[in-house]
């Protein structure tokens, strides 16, 4: 019999388990991975360079398109970096709204991850279940910002507008009969907060459903336990963050350790793994969804009690209201200047990081005093995670590559930027 030689295999970029446009060049001996060389950059859009060519506020929309499954968290880091440089104070209500939508975003992201990860390693039902819940959260996005995904809702100094008092309802059409329409609209009778509140009551039960399907499932455990093990020391050495770091047992969460906005006033727990394998990271993320649900509940309770402004009154940075513009010359000038030239940010540099669903998402802005950033650097958590791909899959079987891609929660919008 001929001796088996190691050979090179190409994986992706057109592959359903590649989560976008990952191209992996795998060196394989038999079915065992010797080395994996990820080729990234197929989705490189030079976001950072584009941002350098336009006023600060015009790049908020680009941030949504970085990690396109956790849109508002990206915006959050960007506006925080600008606020840091400008020294703008954000109204408390805006901070609560941001925290609430950050956590909605975290659930959105983790649902997408769980569905795709499940589908990749053979749990088809997960995908359908997860997308069912995602739909409600997308509707919350739509109600508050007008779009289901790329919200462009946060602004330096607060958020674009207050939460709406009514939820948009489904319209009658020839595809829906009256009963179905009433059923779909029954949860949309109240305000957005009522809608999210109802979701929060329902959601822990949904997470229980996911867990019945997976947590003790023999096949799921065979595919994830002891796969892609990362020790705490290696995780730190490789620049891991978020669930990838916590899965390895390092207790580190920016929401607790370096709290921003109102996270220091909110009660929640940080789940930490033990073994640092795919299964522990699965458990960490599932528990994070439950904790996010808790945070949203607390935000809703606060937001119901405390009406107030949602954006700073500093009209050098935030636009004045339409009403003010009608009879105040200075407001009109502010509005004109803001929407043509933008605002100048004082010379200096700032790094703002948020606990993004995937890890530490940081924005480094270097300003020379102009109305555009001189240099914008996006620190994407997925970039650091993917760079450890080779180390994580070495010695595993070919099929485990898919499990590791899934557990890293790779999204190419942020890796390639």
């Amino acid at each position: 019999m001929a001796e088996i030689q190691s050979y090179t295999m190409n994986f992706g970029p057109q592959h359903p388990a590649a989560h976008g446009v990952l191209r992996l060049v795998l060196e394989i001996e038999g079915e065992t991975i010797q080395k994996a060389d990820p080729h990234v950059g197929l989705l490189h859009r030079a976001t950072e360079k584009l941002a350098e060519s336009k006023p600060f506020n015009q790049s908020i929309g680009y941030m949504d398109r970085l990690d396109y499954v956790s849109m508002m968290c990206n915006e959050h880091a960007y506006v925080m970096a600008i606020e840091k440089l400008l020294g703008v104070q954000v109204p408390e209500r805006a901070q609560y709204i941001r925290v609430m939508f950050d956590e909605i975003t975290r659930i959105l992201n983790h649902l997408m991850w769980l569905g795709a990860h499940g589908l990749d390693i053979g749990a088809m039902t997960m995908f359908l279940y997860c997308f069912r819940e995602r739909e409600d959260l997308m509707d919350s996005y739509e109600a508050v910002s007008g779009t289901r995904m790329h919200a462009t809702y946060y602004r330096p100094g607060g958020v674009y507008r207050d939460l709406p008092d009514v939820m948009p309802k489904y319209q009658e059409s020839k595809f829906r009969n009256k009963n179905e329409l009433d059923r779909m609209n029954s949860i949309r009778e109240g305000s957005l907060l009522d809608f999210i509140d109802a979701f929060c009551d329902r959601f822990p039960g949904c997470v229980d459903e996911y867990e019945t399907l997976l947590t003790d499932n023999r096949i799921w455990k065979q595919r994830t336990v002891n796969i892609g093990v990362v020790s705490p020391d290696r995780a730190m050495q490789l620049g891991f963050s978020g669930p990838m770091l916590r899965g390895s047992g390092v207790e580190w969460d920016l929401r607790k350790k370096q709290p921003y906005d109102v996270y220091d006033r909110i009660d929640f727990d940080i789940p930490v793994g033990v073994n640092g394998d795919c299964y522990d990271r699965y458990l960490v993320r599932v528990e994070e969804m439950r904790q996010s649900n808790r945070i949203i509940k607390q935000c809703i309770a606060w937001l119901r009690e405390n009406p107030g402004p949602v954006i700073a009154e500093d009209h050098k940075v935030t636009p004045p209201s339409r009403v003010e513009m009608k009879d105040d010359m200075e407001s009109l000038i502010h509005h004109f200047k803001l929407f043509t030239e933008g605002y100048c940010v004082p010379e200096g540099e700032a790094y703002a990081a948020v606990e993004h669903p995937k890890g530490e998402f940081g924005i480094y802005i270097l300003s020379d005093g102009a109305n555009k950033p001189y240099r914008l650097k996006i620190r994407a958590p997925g970039f650091a995670h993917l760079s450890a791909m080779s180390e994580m899959v070495e010695g595993h079987m070919l099929a485990d590559v898919v499990a590791v891609i899934g557990t890293q929660d790779i999204v190419f919008g942020e890796v390639d930027r």
């Binding site: 990234v40 050098k316 010379e347 200096g348 270097l366 240099r375």
Partner: protein, 233 residues
């Protein structure tokens, strides 16, 4: 928070003395500049010594300071001469120069200490050499590997001692370093499918560069440090 950072700053000054120079910050962040020859020594100490314990390197970021502080539209004398709609472009400086301005390229490192919950930033200028070159920190923080590849790809900064310095984000066979300030935003080439030749061909770009909003720098005395102190006091 700031008290802890003052202590850290004092410790850093005591340990490294003149090797690192603090850069003033308006938002309470610690930034230090250092010579590129000292980088490895300082970085190793920052990682390994218990008082600092910066076990994580969060980010490595290349910066090109070519047009720093220059605007496209004069704002102070504009009313004397009338507003010009046309924006004057910065002249392109070719890369063939043997030497760069010493402060043209910099590499910025963002460090994080989990045990002490500190962040700090190091900035190292690459000096006059063309291509710019600096020591790699991959052996100190393994996570630097791809971040340095990215800085090499986008800025053409070489990292001495990097195990695998290849392009990472741009296309296979890409020419130039796109994030340099003298690289045009729309690039130099465009690709299209040529039906006659039956393959994808590269041609010089056909679109005109345009600026929708000129870059302006306005003197804003709200942000001047001495004025700020008066209002705060």
């Amino acid at each position: 928070m700031s008290e802890r950072y003052d202590t850290l700053a004092a410790q850093l000054h005591e340990r490294f003395g003149e090797q690192i120079r603090r850069v003033p910050s308006t938002c309470g962040e610690l930034t230090y500049e250092l010579d590129k020859d000292d980088l490895i020594e300082v970085a190793t100490a920052l990682r390994n010594e218990g008082a600092f314990g910066f076990e994580m390197l969060m980010d490595v970021c290349g910066v090109d300071y070519l047009n720093y502080g220059s605007d496209e539209w004069t704002t102070n004398t504009a009313t004397d001469t009338g507003f010009s709609r046309g924006v004057e472009r910065q002249p392109v400086i070719l890369d063939e120069a043997d030497e760069f301005e010493p402060n043209r390229f910099a590499v910025v490192y963002h460090l994080l200490s989990l045990q002490h919950n500190f962040r700090m930033r190091l900035r190292v200028f690459t000096g006059t050499s063309n291509p710019p070159i600096i020591k790699s920190v991959v052996d100190i923080w393994n996570g630097a590997n791809w971040f340095e590849r990215e800085a090499f790809d986008l800025f053409g900064i070489l990292f001495d001692g990097h195990p695998d310095l290849r392009r990472i984000l741009t296309d296979y066979g890409f020419i130039g370093h796109p994030f340099r300030k003298d690289f045009p935003l729309m690039g130099n080439v465009e690709v299209s499918y040529d039906a006659d030749e039956g393959r994808v061909v590269y041609k010089p770009v056909s679109i005109e560069p345009r600026t929708l909003v000129p870059r302006v720098i306005r003197d804003d005395n709200r942000y001047e440090a001495d004025l700020k102190d008066v209002t705060d006091g």
